[in-house]
């Protein structure tokens, strides 16, 4: 294990207690809402904030250990950090920015200019070494910041919302490039983000942090398929229905029942994808075993479909095509019938 950490921080209303292990070459995403303590965690790993408890070990070297009062200051950690805003030094050229970490480590000028130029080329900014940071676009600045973080060949790479300051289109291309660079990076990477797409696209494993605690950990696919909290469910676009399974029926904690395809027992989650929910104005006859009356409380365009929020005994989110939405003549407050096939409901233990 290359990075092994347990971090405890108490600050005001935040009580952070997170444990993590990241192997060499592995990318761990820390996913969570604003205020969950993600950035605090990152600052502790970077040595910019002292922890109240716990330890940080990288490649077997203790960077932090509160019990033995070990604290390696930030500038002596073999790390690269990319912040949300690229934060390129405005008084230096792009090349000098990338070479900054080499200069502080005493590399000679010719060597560091060459190394910086090489990294600028790797991130697609060849020939821009003499530009000022102000002349770069947001995407270019973030690429330069990545080059600056990686040029010193760090043991640990920390990314703090690296894509969230970019516009949607740039984010797409920079995300793809970042994915390539992370794949080539030999050390451990911790990516902090509130965007599930970043986590799913870039990470090998995801930990979800809410209110300072890890509420779920797993591969992106697991987290995506089987969310364990409302926050994650909403992020991945699922309706999460906690209940108790008996046979092929899940009795929901909030009341109501959901028919499922497999036998379920004990405390379980039933998860429903929005595209599996069909809406009708009148109670439909026939096959589906799950039919619930509901009220439309909200509708927002979502790609080619309209995402409808339903209130009722079984709260659901449904995606219907814009055409269907118009044909049904749906307005907020309208009564509808929602149906889901039992085979479309995922069930897993809580």
């Amino acid at each position: 294990m290359s990075l092994s950490a347990r971090v405890l921080v108490r600050r005001g209303s935040l009580a952070l207690d997170v444990e993590m292990d990241v192997a060499d070459g592995e990318v761990l995403a820390v996913l969570g809402p604003n205020g969950a303590g993600k950035s605090t965690l990152l600052r502790v790993l970077a040595g910019l904030l002292p922890a109240d408890g716990g330890r940080v070990t990288v490649d077997g070297h203790p960077w932090d250990d509160v019990r033995t009062r070990t604290h390696l200051p930030a500038h002596r950690r073999s790390q690269g950090v990319v912040f949300q805003d690229a934060l390129l030094f405005p008084h230096l050229t792009v090349g000098e920015n990338v070479a900054f970490g080499l200069r502080t480590r005493g590399m000679r000028k010719a060597a560091r200019v060459e190394a910086a130029a090489g990294w600028l080329a790797r991130v697609g900014l060849a020939g821009l070494a003499d530009q000022r940071p102000g002349q770069l676009s947001g995407g270019q600045a973030q690429r330069a910041a990545l080059a600056r973080a990686l040029v010193g060949d760090p043991a640990l790479l920390l990314l703090d919302e690296p894509l969230s300051a970019l516009d949607a289109r740039t984010r797409l291309t920079v995300r793809a490039e970042l994915r390539r660079h992370l794949a080539e990076f030999a050390g451990s990477t911790v990516l902090v983000t509130h965007d599930p797409v970043d986590a799913m696209a870039l990470a090998d494993r995801v930990v979800v942090v809410e209110n300072g605690r890890v509420v779920q950990a797993g591969t992106p696919a697991e987290v995506n398929r089987r969310p364990r909290t409302d926050y994650v469910a909403r992020l991945v676009g699922l309706s999460l229905l906690p209940g108790t399974g008996t046979g092929r029926i899940v009795r929901l904690d909030s009341g109501g029942e959901v028919a499922v395809a497999e036998e379920a027992a004990g405390r379980v989650f039933a998860a429903v994808r929005p595209e599996s929910v069909a809406l009708y104005l009148a109670r439909p006859d026939g096959s589906p075993r799950n039919v619930w009356p509901a009220t439309l409380v909200g509708a927002t365009p979502h790609g080619a479909t309209v995402r409808c929020e339903l209130a009722g005994e079984v709260p659901l989110v449904a995606d219907v095509t814009a055409t269907a939405f118009a044909e049904l003549g749906l307005v907020p407050g309208a009564p509808v019938w929602a149906t889901v096939k039992a085979s479309e409901v995922a069930v897993y233990a809580r």
Binding site: R77, F89, H91, G152
Partner: protein
């Protein structure tokens, strides 16, 4: 009706007092220029003592500014960035010379550094050093009065500068001293330059503390403001000429520095 005047966009209630303010600030300078004895400027300027006073003024103001930079920039950093206790008390102490009448400052310096003073007696007895009524005293008096201008200006620039750049530098292997030299100082350079100009101008015009602590000896402690005041009592025309010189030097320096340092990054941070 009070409406913004067309073209200027300035409401009348603001325009009139603002105009009065301009007149109040500019008229004395205009008066100085109008009454100046332009015809016999040359003999007045070459009169004995004028060159000495000017040279002493420029030298002592410049040395005082350098001393202020050496002590004031680190002090501003401590006030803006450090986490030491009693920082607000420290800041209040730093600004005392700003509100203290300069003459009182001169008396205070005398009490500390005079031959019978707390430090002065020790300096005299141990090293046979006497500070009052020397050029050194002029520099000390000017530094005492002018340094707070620099400290306040630099502290403001430091607070406005994004401290996250310093975090970035730390993650790139820079210790705090390297970060200060390579990141913090360049980022606040316009603020330091503006503070240095303010400080220099204040030192150049210093009167009260200087005359109290350093006296008025031509050639060693008689700076331009002192020379102006004395000349006014025996030869008003000479006072006028000296004032013109002081005005010209101040304006020239300001304009020069504005183009060289302050112009590049826009308005000075003061």
């Amino acid at each position: 009706m009070t409406r913004p005047r067309e073209g200027t966009g300035i409401p009348t209630p603001l325009l009139v007092p603002a105009g009065l303010g301009i007149a109040f600030l500019v008229l004395p300078v205009v008066g100085l220029l109008v009454r100046a004895p332009w015809s016999d400027l040359a003999p007045q300027l070459t009169a004995p003592g004028v060159g000495d006073a000017l040279r002493l003024s420029l030298l002592s103001a410049t040395v005082a500014t350098l001393l202020s930079l050496l002590m004031g920039v680190p002090l501003a950093w401590v006030l803006a960035r450090s986490r030491i206790r009693g920082r607000s008390v420290l800041r209040a102490l730093v600004t005392v010379p700003l509100v203290l009448p300069p003459v009182v400052g001169g008396v205070a310096l005398f009490l500390v550094l005079g031959r019978q003073g707390l430090l002065g007696r020790w300096l005299f007895e141990q090293f046979d050093i006497t500070i009052p009524f020397t050029t050194t005293a002029v520099v000390i008096a000017e530094t005492f009065v002018a340094m707070p201008f620099l400290v306040i200006s630099v502290e403001g620039a430091l607070r406005a500068a994004d401290a996250r750049f310093e975090d970035v530098a730390a993650t790139l292997g820079a210790d705090r001293w390297t970060t200060f030299r390579r990141v913090t100082l360049p980022l606040v350079a316009p603020g330091v330059a503006a503070g240095a100009v303010l400080c220099w101008a204040r030192a150049l015009g210093e009167f009260g503390a200087t005359i109290t602590f350093a006296g008025n000896f031509p050639g060693t402690t008689q700076t331009m403001p002192l020379a102006v005041y004395l000349a006014l009592q025996r030869d008003p025309e000479a006072a006028l000429v000296l004032s013109l010189v002081l005005l010209a030097v101040s304006l020239a320096t300001l304009l020069l520095l504005r183009d060289r340092w302050l112009g590049r990054s826009g308005a000075p941070v003061a």
